[in-house]
Symmetry: C2
Subunit: 231 residues, 2 copies
DNA sequence: CCTTTCTAGGTACAGCGTACGTAGAACATG
DNA sequence: CATGTTCTACGTACGCTGTACCTAGAAAGG
């Protein structure tokens, strides 16, 4: 296994995890991913550094580079690790709309548990084993539709995009510091006071929507699903 | 103007650009934003550092902190700078679907010119002057619908999310290195060869979609628009 | 005038990704 | 079994990052 980054493939999945010769590796991809996910869950994605992950494993910093030639690859491992949390039915039911609703709801739960995930998922295709398992299931569900192969992949990308976007939006509105909130409120009051933005001012005066996030999600999801299979 | 980050507000827009006393500032927010955008356009978002932006302006690194107390604020400036490129009609036409189609198409053109933008826009609300101008226009367009105030804001978020997601996806499929492509192809061939993912294998065998990206965009956009105002 | 309040920018520090080199373990082959 | 090859572990070091802190000087208020 080449460990120098310059020779390493762009995709970590092209690199066999271990190849016979030499001492047995002290760690596995999944234990590394687990450690990284633990850090991201508790301290945020920016706290995930090669040094911290190595320390979490009780390994030297540079040892990690035997497993993960570039940091991007660590992110790929993390994404595939949580894709392992997806609980996929053995077989699609034949009702694609019901299947996708269940799938999306389940996936949202996972994304909510790991609020750093949407950003990573949006950045690169998920090609790890668990990502492929997900894709295979998705295609199975879509077999009940009349979409072409590319159409199905497009639909998957769009649904995933929607989920990431929703989870991210939810997290970014829920998870701001109190200081942030007060700053934003006082700023918007100032904005309204200028009178330059009458329509925005009116919307702000109406106050926030009374609807629960789950209800908003369900409504948006059904819209997306309807849109997915239209010509 | 407090320059220490700990005292600075969370939102740069809460801080007046200059307040009477002391020497006149040598730079302006927009000239700073311009410099940062220039760097991001030519070298990518990761190349945008406080040092490089300062150097581009011919200023000392730490002088920049008088204008931009935290790096996040620099990103806010950049986003608002390109929001200045939006060409908004003076008044909505009354046909919200046509207006949103034109708006989205124009916005996509801007996002394509600045491929780093989607990531930033997704991360934080756009509250700068140009962002507010956009919001005000959007609300004007949506006045022709029966949505509530929050419903309109929701629609804006969803349309923006879609645009960012599409632009990002487009960029990430177009802009990969040749090495990346060959690695991915050979990986997927290996995946297909395992026989574990028959449906995926079949889709891969069909080859890529023959459709131009613009056609895909138009189709997806119309779907989204239809979905936006449904109950 | 002096005092206050601002701007400019140098120095310094902790933390990052990671290139490179060395030491030793485990397998393949003679 | 001995030897050579190939792997793992990991310390050191470099260049880069954001930014805290400090000094020097310029412009406005009293």
């Amino acid at each position: 296994m080449p460990s120098r980054q310059s020779e390493a493939p762009e995709l970590i999945w092209l690199q066999p995890e271990h190849s016979g010769r030499g001492p047995r590796p002290a760690h596995s991809r999944s234990s590394i991913a687990e450690a990284a996910v633990r850090i991201a869950d508790s301290e945020g994605l920016d706290a995930v550094s090669m040094r911290k992950v190595a320390a979490e494993l009780g390994a030297g910093t540079m040892s990690l580079y035997n497993y993960v030639p570039k940091k991007e690859h660590l992110f790929d491992l993390m994404v595939d690790q949580i894709a392992g949390e997806y609980e996929l039915p053995a077989e699609p039911s034949g009702d694609w709309r019901a299947d996708l609703t269940a799938l999306a709801t389940m996936q949202l739960a996972v994304l909510r548990r790991h609020s750093w995930a949407p950003r990573l998922i949006a950045a690169r295709p998920s090609l790890g084993p668990n990502g492929l398992r997900y894709t295979e299931y998705f295609l199975g569900v879509m077999a009940a539709t009349e979409l072409t192969g590319s159409g199905k992949m497009e639909a998957m990308a769009q649904l995933n995009g929607f989920l990431c976007q929703f989870a991210d939006w939810e997290h970014s509105t829920t998870g701001r510091s109190p200081r942030w909130i007060t700053d934003m409120v006082s700023y918007l009051q100032g904005v309204a006071a200028t009178g330059q933005y009458p329509r925005l001012t009116q919307v702000l005066a109406e106050g926030p929507a009374p609807t629960a996030p789950d209800a908003v999600f369900d409504r948006l999801l059904q819209r997306i699903l309807t849109a997915l299979c239209e010509a």
